[in-house]
C-alpha cells in the first residue's frame, strides 16, 4: 500500500511536470529506458510493481503506452534471450514489435514466449499510473478516466494537481468529476474542518452511492465534520430508498418482459388452442440455437454484419421454430385433440427428443452467442444502472406483443384463428379449412417462441437445457393471466416480475420464488380462470 501511495505521488508529480514542460516532453534515451522495460518481466508481482514505478519516474511519454500494453496482457518476454516485446497473436506465432521503438521484429513462435503476468492489483496500479499521466491530456476521455482513477485512490497529494486541472478544464462533466475527486481527496486528508465540510457538501451532490462510501468512515468523527457527514448520509439514504423502489419496478418490468417473451407463444398454443405443449421450452431453445448458427455464419463469412446478427436471426428463428411447430402439429398433435393427458405426455416426449437431438448435434456444452455492440454495457439513470440488453428486451417483448395483437385482430389469419378456436364446427361450416388453421396457429405460437429464444440468448446461456428453465414459468404466467387472453398474459407476466423483484431483497431469491408460487396457487383457488377470464358459451367446448 505504501508503495502504491508513493507510486501515485510520483505519477501525479510527473503529470504535473509533463504539463509544465509539454513543449519539450521529457524523453529518456532508449539505453536508460530499455533495462527498465526489461525489468517488467520480474519473477513476481512485487518486482513488476517496482519496475512500473521506476518506469513512471522517468517521465518518458512512451511509458503510458507500454503500461497500457502490460495491463492489456500484450507484453511478452522471449524465453531464450529474455527480451520484452509487444505481441499480437497470429496463428501459432506472435507478431512482435519492439516495446520501446515500435519497430517490427521477427515473429516469435508461441511456445518460445511467455506473457508477462499481471493481476488485478497491478492492473489497478497501472490504471492509476496512466490516470496520473493523463490528467492534462488533450483527449477528453483520457482526462475523464484520469479523474476517475484519482476518485478511486483518493490521494491527498493529488489535490494541488487537481486544482490546476480544474482551473483549465473546459468540459463541465469532466470538471465536475475532477471536483468530486478533489473533494474525496480532501476528505481523506487532514485539512481544516470547514474545508472538509465544504467537501462533504460537494461529495454528497454527486454519485450518492460512492459518496456513502466516502462519508461512512467520517460518521463517527467528533465535532462539526461528523455531524455534517451524518446529515449528508441521512439525506443520501432517503434518496437511495426512493431509487430502490424505482429499481425494483424497473427490474420487475425487465423480468416480466422475459416472462412475457417466454410465455407469449404458449399463450397461443395453450391459451388459444388448448394444447398442453410441454415442448414449448424447446421451441425457445431452438430459436436460441438458430441465433447461434446465424452468428457462426456471419462470423465466418461476413463479420461486418455482426451488429445486425440478431435482426437476421429473428426471421430465421421464427421460420425454423415455426416450421418445426407445424411439423409437430401435423405429425402428432392433430391426432390427439381433445385428449389433454396424451397430448401432455406426447409433447413431453417430443421435448426430450428435441433436447437430446440438439445435444448430439451441438454438444452438451453451452454455445457462445455474442452480444452485438448496441446490446452490451449499461447506462446510469439517476441512481439506477440500466443495462442495454435488458432495456432492449423490454422494448422487444412489448413490440412482439403488439404485433401479435395486430395479427390476431386485424388479419384474415387472425380472424380465422379466433373463429376456429371459438366454434370449430361453425367455422368449418363457413368454409374455413380448420386443419390448416390449426397447423398455422401452432406454427405461429412456436415461431413466436423461437423469436423469444433470440432475445433470451442474449441474457441466458444457450444450452440444450435452456427451455426447461422457462416452461414452468410460462405455464404459470398463462394460467395466472387467464387462459385464452393475450392481455392477461401481459399483465400476468409483468405483475409476477414485479412481485418477484419486490420480494427478492427481503426474502432472498429462493424464498421469493416459493412465495410467488404459493400466492399464485391461492389466487387460482379463488379465481380458477385467472386474471382475465374469457366469457361466453364456447369456452367450455
Amino acid at each position: 500500500m505504501r508503495l502504491n501511495r508513493l507510486l501515485s505521488v510520483f505519477i501525479l508529480m510527473l503529470g504535473f511536470c509533463c504539463h509544465i514542460a509539454q513543449s519539450n516532453a521529457q524523453t529518456v534515451d532508449d539505453a536508460t529506458l530499455r533495462p527498465l522495460v526489461q525489468a517488467l518481466a520480474g519473477d513476481n508481482f512485487e518486482n513488476t510493481t517496482k519496475a512500473i514505478s521506476d518506469l513512471v519516474k522517468t517521465g518518458d511519454p512512451r511509458v503510458s503506452k507500454i503500461l497500457d500494453a502490460l495491463s492489456a496482457g500484450d507484453l511478452y518476454v522471449a524465453k531464450a534471450d529474455k527480451t520484452v516485446f509487444l505481441g499480437k497473436r497470429d496463428g501459432s506465432d506472435y507478431a512482435a514489435t519492439d516495446a520501446l521503438t515500435g519497430a517490427k521484429l521477427d515473429p516469435v513462435p508461441r511456445s518460445a514466449a511467455e506473457k508477462i503476468k499481471v493481476n488485478n492489483r497491478l492492473r489497478r496500479d497501472i490504471a492509476a499510473a496512466i490516470g496520473g499521466l493523463t490528467l492534462m491530456s488533450d483527449n477528453i476521455a483520457e482526462r475523464r478516466s484520469a479523474a476517475e482513477a484519482i476518485l478511486k485512490t483518493r490521494d491527498p497529494e493529488s489535490i494541488p494537481l487537481l486544482d490546476q486541472a480544474i482551473a483549465v478544464e473546459k468540459d463541465a462533466g469532466v470538471k465536475a468529476l475532477m471536483q468530486q475527486a478533489k473533494a474525496a481527496a480532501v476528505l481523506n486528508s487532514d485539512a481544516a474542518d470547514d474545508v472538509k465540510i465544504a467537501a462533504i457538501t460537494e461529495v454528497s451532490a454527486g454519485n450518492s452511492r460512492a459518496a456513502l462510501g466516502l462519508l461512512t468512515p467520517l460518521e463517527n468523527v467528533q465535532g462539526p465534520v461528523g455531524e455534517a457527514a451524518k446529515a449528508a448520509i441521512d439525506s443520501i439514504n432517503t434518496k437511495l430508498a426512493f431509487w430502490n423502489a424505482i429499481q425494483n419496478v424497473v427490474y420487475g418490468l425487465s423480468l416480466g418482459s422475459v416472462l412475457l417473451l417466454a410465455a407469449i407463444g404458449l399463450a397461443i398454443t395453450f391459451g388459444v388452442m388448448g394444447v398442453i405443449n410441454m415442448a414449448h421450452g424447446e421451441m425457445v431453445m431452438i430459436g436460441a440455437y438458430t441465433t447461434f448458427v446465424v452468428q457462426q455464419i456471419i462470423r465466418t463469412s461476413a463479420p461486418g454484419l455482426f451488429d445486425y446478427s440478431l435482426l437476421i436471426a429473428l426471421p430465421a428463428a421464427f421460420l425454423v421454430s415455426g416450421g418445426i411447430g407445424v411439423v409437430i402439429e401435423r405429425g402428432i398433435i392433430r391426432f390427439l385433440y381433445g385428449r389433454p393427458l396424451e397430448t401432455l405426455l406426447a409433447t413431453w416426449g417430443i421435448s426430450l427428443v428435441l433436447q437430446q437431438a440438439i445435444r448430439s448435434w451441438f454438444g452438451a456444452s453451452n454455445v457462445q452467442v455474442g452480444n452485438p455492440s448496441w446490446m452490451a454495457g449499461s447506462f446510469d439513470l439517476g441512481l439506477l444502472t440500466l443495462t442495454w440488453s435488458r432495456l432492449w428486451i423490454i422494448v422487444f417483448a412489448l413490440s412482439v406483443f403488439a404485433i401479435l395483437q395486430l395479427v390476431l385482430k386485424k388479419t384474415m389469419l387472425g380472424l380465422r384463428m379466433r373463429a376456429v378456436t371459438q366454434n370449430r364446427r361453425m367455422a368449418s361450416s363457413m368454409g374455413i379449412r380448420t386443419p390448416w388453421v390449426d397447423a398455422l396457429t401452432f406454427g405461429l405460437g412456436s415461431g413466436i417462441a423461437g423469436i423469444a429464444g433470440v432475445a433470451l440468448s442474449q441474457i441466458d446461456n444457450v444450452s440444450p437445457n435452456l427451455g426447461q428453465g422457462y416452461i414452468i414459468d410460462s405455464f404459470m404466467v398463462v394460467v395466472f393471466g387467464g387462459v385464452g387472453n393475450l392481455w392477461g398474459t401481459l399483465v400476468g407476466a409483468m405483475s409476477l416480475g414485479i412481485a418477484n423483484k419486490f420480494l427478492e431483497p427481503f426474502a432472498g431469491a429462493v424464498l421469493g420464488k416459493i412465495v410467488v408460487l404459493v400466492l399464485i396457487i391461492l389466487f387460482i383457488q379463488k379465481r380458477p380462470r385467472g386474471l382475465f377470464a374469457l366469457k361466453g358459451r364456447a369456452i367450455e367446448a
Binding site: M1, G73, N120, G213, T216, Y251, S378, T387, N465, A509
Partner: protein, 432 residues
C-alpha cells in the same frame, strides 16, 4: 437381485447350459478387467460429466496401449445415470453386481455421490470421485481425488485477503449442499480471522437462476462502502453465464470487485465471451495453462485421442487422471483387483499429477494437491497468479466447523475409521 421360486431355477439352469455355448466369447472377457464409468450422458449434468466419460475412455485406451493391468486388458463399461440421483444407485449396483467391475469412476454432484455411497459400502466395491466437494465425509470405499474445502476455498480467500486487500466478502452460491457447507466453513474461517458479520453477505439462488439484476446491484451496493470487496462464488454450472453477463453489463470489473469461483473452469468459460471477465478468478488444483511437461504431453494426447485440438482440459479431468493412475498402481502393487487388497494397498500410493508434482493417497482417502489461483484471460484460459508453495493435504472434516473439528479419518488398520473423535477417543463421533 432376483428372488426366483425354486421351480424356475431348474429351467433357468437348463437354459443357462444351452446358452453357455453362445456365451463362450464371454470367457474371453475374463481376460479383461472391467472398469465402470458412472457419469451422466444426458440430462442437466451431461454438460459437465460427458467430458469425464471421454477422459476415462482415453485413459483406459492409453493404459491398454501400455499392456493393460496385471497382463490383462482393461474394458470400459459405460452406463448413463441421466442426471437422476436415485438412478445413480441403481446403475452402480448394476455395474458391481452384473458387470462385476473392479472399480467405478464416476459421479459429479454431491447428491449423486450420497446416493451411491451405501451401494459401494454394502457391496464393498471402490468409487473414485473426481470433483471438488464440501468435505464432511469419508468412506472406506470412496476415494476423493477432487479438492476438499481446504484445498480450494480457504487458499482462495487467503489470496484475496493478502494480495488484493479484501475486507468485505460476498459469499454467493446456488442453494444446495456444496455451497451451503462451503460457505458455512468460509464464514467460520473469516470470523476466526476477525472479519465481522456485517462485512459478510451470504446469498443463495435457485438452480439455473437467470435473472441476476437485483443480486448484482446488491453486490454493487455492498461493495460501495469504501472497503475492498470480493465475491466468493459457489454458483453452480449453468447459472454462471447469466451471472457473469450481468456483472459485465452493470460495469463491475475485476479491478473493482473481483469474483473468485470454485465451479468455473475452462469448460464453463467455453460458452462465454470472456473479454469483459478478464481478471476474475478461479481456484483449482489444475489449469490447462499449467506450464509443465506432463501437462503438455497430456493435452497433446487428449487432442489426438478426441481428434479435436480445441477440446479444453480441466480440473476434474486431472482428478480423474490421478485417480485412475492410483488405482492402476495399487492394483499392480496388490497383484489382484480384489477390493479389500486394493483398498489396503492404495493408501500411500504416489502418482505424478499434471502440474509437475506428485499426488499421494492419504489415509483419509483424500489426496495431496497444489492449490492454484488463476485469472480469466480473454482467450477463455486462466493465467496462474498464485500457487501454494507446497502440497496441501485434503482435510475431510473441517477444522472450522464445531461438529467436525474433533474428527479425523484413518482407514489404515487397526484404526480403520472414517470419523474418529479425538476428544472421546471413539470411532463414530458426531457427524454432519
Amino acid at each position: 437381485m432376483f428372488n426366483l421360486p425354486a421351480k424356475f431355477i431348474g429351467t433357468l439352469a437348463a437354459a443357462a447350459m444351452g446358452a453357455s455355448l453362445a456365451m463362450s466369447p464371454a470367457s474371453a472377457a475374463d481376460d479383461t478387467i472391467k472398469v465402470g464409468i458412472l457419469h451422466s450422458l444426458s440430462g442437466t449434468m451431461a454438460i459437465s460429466e460427458t467430458t469425464l466419460k471421454d477422459t476415462m475412455l482415453f485413459l483406459i485406451d492409453e493404459q491398454n496401449k501400455k499392456g493393460g493391468v496385471l497382463g490383462k486388458k482393461l474394458e470400459a463399461v459405460v452406463v448413463d445415470p441421466a442426471s437422476d440421483w436415485p438412478l445413480f444407485a441403481e446403475k452402480a449396483r448394476q455395474l458391481i453386481e452384473q458387470d462385476k467391475v473392479a472399480a467405478v469412476f464416476g459421479c459429479w454432484t454431491s447428491s449423486s455421490r450420497k446416493s451411491v455411497l451405501p451401494v459401494f459400502e454394502e457391496l464393498n466395491s471402490m468409487l473414485f470421485y473426481p470433483v471438488q466437494y464440501e468435505g464432511e465425509e469419508s468412506s472406506r470405499n470412496v476415494f476423493y481425488t477432487g479438492a476438499a474445502p481446504n484445498q480450494q476455498a480457504i487458499p482462495a480467500v487467503d489470496y484475496l485477503a493478502k494480495e488484493e486487500g479484501v475486507e468485505r466478502w460476498v459469499l454467493a452460491g446456488t442453494d444446495y449442499v456444496y455451497p451451503q457447507t462451503t460457505n458455512k466453513i468460509l464464514k467460520a474461517y473469516l470470523n476466526a480471522k476477525g472479519v465481522k458479520d456485517e462485512d459478510i453477505m451470504i446469498n443463495y439462488t435457485p438452480f439455473g437462476q437467470s435473472d441476476w439484476q437485483t443480486i448484482v446491484s446488491d453486490i454493487k451496493k455492498f461493495g460501495s462502502t469504501g472497503k475492498k470487496t470480493a465475491v466468493v462464488s459457489t454458483i453452480n454450472g449453468d447459472a454462471n453465464v447469466p451471472f457473469y453477463k450481468e456483472l459485465a453489463n452493470q460495469g463491475i470489473k475485476a479491478e473493482d470487485i473481483p469474483v473468485v469461483a470454485f465451479s468455473v473452469g475452462e469448460e464453463e468459460l467455453a460458452g462465454l465471451d470472456t473479454k469483459p471477465l478478464v481478471g476474475h478468478l478461479a481456484a483449482w488444483n489444475y489449469f490447462q495453462s499449467v506450464d509443465a511437461d506432463a501437462n503438455a504431453e497430456f493435452i497433446k494426447e487428449w487432442h489426438a485421442y478426441t481428434k479435436n485440438d480445441k477440446r479444453v482440459t480441466n480440473d476434474p479431468m486431472e482428478a480423474t487422471y490421478i485417480g485412475f493412475n492410483m488405482w492402476v498402481k495399487a492394483v499392480e502393487a496388490a497383484g489382484t483387483t480384489d477390493s479389500n487388497a486394493v483398498i489396503d494397498s492404495i493408501v500411500g500410493t504416489s502418482v505424478p499429477n499434471l502440474s509437475g508434482g506428485y499426488a499421494t493417497m492419504m489415509p483419509n482417502h483424500h489426496i495431496t494437491k497444489p492449490v492454484l489461483i488463476g485469472e480469466v484471460q480473454d482467450d477463455g484460459q486462466f493465467d496462474i497468479v498464485y500457487q501454494t508453495p507446497g502440497l496441501v493435504v485434503g482435510d475431510e472434516w473441517s477444522d472450522y466447523l464445531p461438529g467436525s473439528k474433533d474428527l479425523i479419518s484413518d482407514w489404515r488398520k487397526p484404526m480403520s475409521c472414517g470419523n474418529f473423535n479425538i476428544v472421546s477417543g471413539k470411532c463414530g463421533g458426531v457427524t454432519n
